[in-house]
Symmetry: D2
Subunit: 389 residues, 4 copies
């Protein structure tokens, strides 16, 4: 038997759209799930602006104050898709009210906030998740599977970049509903929280804890007009961030993110090199995982060095993560499916009782690394992260 | 004001799923559309087998005889997703009943059937469309746009392949609900109707009529167990087909399709070469259109021959066809979106009164080419197609 | 002990340069060879024009009449790099004089000429070779190795293209020393002899005989100024040629060549699909062979369908054909090395007494296919090739 | 009129072969050069081992002590291709004797050595060059040209990797003639001097000085058998090195090199991102330069955002650096040609009197960065480089 799950979505921007789509589609493609989401309520400060969105997506009601959601008995799950500076208060209140809580990344403005949120959901014992959706790109999930199958061997290197180019023009403003990611008071940081948080989450999923970092950041455009004041104001975010890292497994890591890499649109890449194999991924070509298998490990078999090469796996076979849910081999899925997969995994984890990663505690560890990266960029020194996994 | 559109879907296989998804999603991503599809009825011979599908997708009712759909007043549109040998009778009856008719490709078992269907919908004056969904891959729509912008110039060559590898094993059976595409009595032909029909549709969209062809086909596995009889029976379909073509514009074309190209899963490619530019596309990398622009045409500008190269356009900008409806630059869409785009265009064409291509008449022309290809493969001679556009 | 080999080179154009370079380099990279070429004589109709070339390359003497070469006792090998209409007479005279004879491709203007040349060298018993240099691209040699290792299995398909774009402009003239390839009286044919001869040679090396063809050709620019007359004259060559083929092994082939594919410079590609694997090659990326290995054939091993993919083999390992002669893994060789490899194989074949392919007899078979392709383009019918291998 | 140039080559390993090939080929492909190299003398400690090499390459004589070269009047140029610990003494003595001096990279064991060498050649006024051959990959030279043509605009980012995988196995020994690069006493450092020196040279050629760095190194295999002692000894080199950098132009840089990246053979890559464009290069695909041109800069022209994309420039046109010397568009050159180009540029610089980069002074600056990278790896702090350009 299936159970309804009444969802309240906070925020109707880009992420509001991506999450709403996931709630509407998950039951058709994962019909075995116990819970069936219903779009019960959309919450947004400005009800008038939110109404068209609510109608398009079929939300049954609208609230302009998130505190009302806490009080409503007909809400099971609260999805926090509003700007970063709102995450903590909502999450803690929702948890205390016994609601399930899912939250956009980065989980918080700081490690301290993330800790408080984690303790709140754990104390309340409510299901919780942070939307690090890229883990659910089938090719990235496949990379994790190859690691778990011990096909990579002793790890030596990991390198990640997350490059975009949409803020290069000086006349892009900051702040307001559409560009709060450029306003440090609302976003907390620039590319570190927005983009590197993804890279760090993926990196620690595949490699385990990052133990120390040394970093450097830059703000290329020093002042931008603020959409709320109409005035030029200093830019407080990091436009770009690069750092070196060491993992607890002994591997070396390089990370870089920017919004100033002309020609790169959503270029989220990683490569993992181990003694027995390597994998490479690029989010602009998300249907592929490149895999190099070192063949000498196959004892009893003639080494065929004339056949070695990077294998370009088109991750659309029925045997690939999530792909039995969709179409047929050769047919791709896209960006939005990562959210559907994340939601399906979350709902399945609630039913099974095992939970699903990344939960709040896990996202807190990623936040620690983000904080230490920014600290190192200020001090110019290597900093221990204190990640616990 | 929006209007409901009551949809009856015939068939619940792979295409039933793809179409159902399109009906459910189109209103969220194309909210400006006048018509709002409702999944009113699913039609399938075996009601019991169809029931789980109907429940998953939220169909309000089920019918086991398509003739019942014709009689029901609460059905506006009939979508024919059943095997090819059923298309003609359903389409003609639906048209005569005044229903809108949309039909999976290939439109029919033969050019004669396609002609009868075309005349029926035109006589009835009902909106009609054939689901040549690949025209709606954003990159293919962009190719058409570049042609229309006269960026290709005088055309010299067109080459298309559509390669798969899923029938190589001898123990793949034929017939029945899942493998009717291998049964010539139900499918009409093999790769010619299933895959080359797509290639021909795209080719004539970009180039205009194909005027003559010379072809060759092969059936590599001569006998397969039939799922309905359980016995080995001769295979009547073409496993592979290759042909040369001439377009009315003077250009030369090569076409090839097979289900025996090991390693190719849904490898639908084309390349168009003209005096001023070329485009290349591959459905396994659907987010890209490769474009070579011949720069000497830019009068008054120094020719920069050191800068020439194939431009790999990541077709995810807001400026690209359909992409303003989805996410942000760099974020891909996938296979299912082609159906949503096709549906949106169809509904928009009804509202505007201009109709949308490919309609039945257009798909009939493609059927003519398919028929002549098979005829040429038998006679070994060049055959005129008689295409009228 | 090494032996000197006195070489007479006829022609000092593009091929004269490529061959001269091979003679000068082969001993340094293949020091084990018995024969050491010496550039004894350059032969060219216009001695004055040839002199700078002879000096640059260190030729010891110059002759303006190839008949003088036949008479000279100090010449061991005659290399025919002059236009196609000169091949037959020189080759037969050289063979009758007991000279070794190597000849640029295509071997002749027609199958009849090729036959006469073959019979002459065989009667004389002299070492002979035709410069189908692309067999010696390491990646193509590797493809042949994979075929011989039975990694491809039962062949189903072969497709080859050879695309260029350098004759699109109408003001490119024909004829004369530099553009004789556009003059049908000197070249014999257009892309069929110039480019498709390569494609056919490679195809039959990998697959065995082509038994029948149906073809179509086009001359897009009907008239061009002739460099010798200064007048506009009809263009007699085929600008483009496409054909379908059947191999004696049952496989289907598509071939296409043109000089009107904007953006393609020396785009010589092939793909071979068999039951157990596929290979793909592109001469613009000559360091790679793409290989898809069907893993289910490995009995006793769990099928790992999540690992299947096209392997991009960077053909620069010591284990790859010819590559132990050059640098280290990862370091590429280029166009000119194919000639050095061909020469080394030829010289080794003389020493071993086993000869080397393609010899004149083999190149004659390729010429038969070229002739039948052109015949089919005229008649519009399938034509048997009569290839004997 | 041409002049002979008597060359003495020290070393007959991999680099001895690459340089010898350059001296033998340069006059055929750059016939306009004034100087014509002659392979006068090969110098190697063990004369017997060197003899086959000398014979293969046609050296007129052999010396076993490099000091003899200094004394010989018939030597014009001394090419130092012996291990790093020999560079300084030879170079200074050669300069003092008035010989031209060319030296393999890295120029020296330390910045101090490089300084002494620089002062010596400058005091003597002799032509000098360091073989940073990768500047002469046509695609890298083209990148430099695009920078000089101001097509990149304000630079924001530079990222370079140089990855190999040939030392992963624990049983690879260190030291001796073939593996001195793994012996810190002979090589000075590991990947920093061997690979990163190339990356740094290219980076500063394209961007100007690196002003500060923070670095981290690792030695994954702690002990290896030494080929001279036959005993396991500690490994003193850096197996891997990663560092962050700042350029004087304000741009941010990431650099990484390793011999532990499974599947990467000679993967020397860089990407430069500026406000107006980006370029990307990969030495395993050396025939390409990827270029993204930001089109909004073209004032007076409609912005065509649907056409933007990375242009894959096949760097084989006559208009590309060095390519008019070789074959025809579409035909690639390879690894060895970088040395021929470097030599041609050097000889041309002597004739013109303008000299050629990188000379010793320039290579000294690269050595400074290498030293500071290793220093930072020890201290864990940012270090100023002191580069002067």
């Amino acid at each position: 038997m299936t159970k309804p799950l009444n969802v309240a979505m906070i925020g109707y921007g880009f992420m509001g759209k991506a999450h709403s789509n996931a709630y509407r589609k998950v039951a058709q493609f994962f019909p075995e799930l116990e819970y069936r989401p219903t779009l019960k309520c959309l919450c947004a400060r400005n009800e008038e602006k939110a109404r068209p969105f609510a109608e398009t997506w079929g939300y049954e009601s609208i609230e302009s104050d998130w505190r009302r959601l806490i009080e409503r008995d007909d809400i099971d799950l609260i999805d926090i898709g509003s700007p970063n500076d709102t995450h903590k208060d909502i999450a803690i209140a929702a948890a205390e009210a016994g609601k399930w809580v899912v939250c956009e990344k980065p989980i918080a403005m700081s490690s301290e906030e993330a800790e408080a949120m984690t303790l709140a959901v754990e104390k309340a014992g409510v299901p919780n998740m942070v939307w690090f959706n890229y883990r659910r790109v089938p090719a990235i999930s496949l990379a994790k599977q190859l690691v778990d199958e011990e096909r990579i061997g002793r790890p030596f290197h990991y390198r990640a970049t997350y490059l975009q180019d949409w803020t290069i023009a000086e006349d892009v403003p900051q702040g307001g509903q559409t560009l709060w990611r450029l306003d440090v008071n609302v976003a907390g940081s620039g590319v570190t929280g927005d983009l590197l948080a993804h890279s760090i989450d993926t990196a620690m999923w595949l490699n385990g804890p990052i133990v120390k970092v040394t970093a450097d950041t830059e703000t290329f455009i020093k002042e931008r007009v603020h959409q709320e004041t109409g005035k030029k104001q200093p830019v407080g975010i990091d436009d770009a961030c690069m750092f070196l890292a060491r993992f607890s497994n002994g591997s070396m890591g390089t990370f870089e993110s920017t919004r100033y890499a002309r020609g790169r649109k959503n270029y989220n890449t990683f490569e993992l090199n181990g003694a027995d194999g390597s994998v490479h991924f690029d989010l602009e070509d998300p249907q592929y995982l490149d895999f190099f298998e070192h063949t000498q490990k196959q004892s009893g078999k003639k080494v065929e060095d004339h056949l070695t090469g990077w294998r370009r796996i088109h991750v659309t076979n029925f045997e690939h993560p999530y792909m039995d849910k969709w179409w047929v081999p050769g047919c791709t899925v896209g960006y939005e499916h990562t959210f559907i997969h994340a939601l399906a995994d979350f709902l399945q984890g609630v039913t099974s009782g095992t939970g699903t990663q990344p939960d709040f505690r896990n996202a807190w560890q990623t936040q620690k690394v983000c904080d230490k990266v920014l600290e190192s960029a200020k001090t110019g020194k290597w900093v221990e992260t204190g990640v616990e996994m």
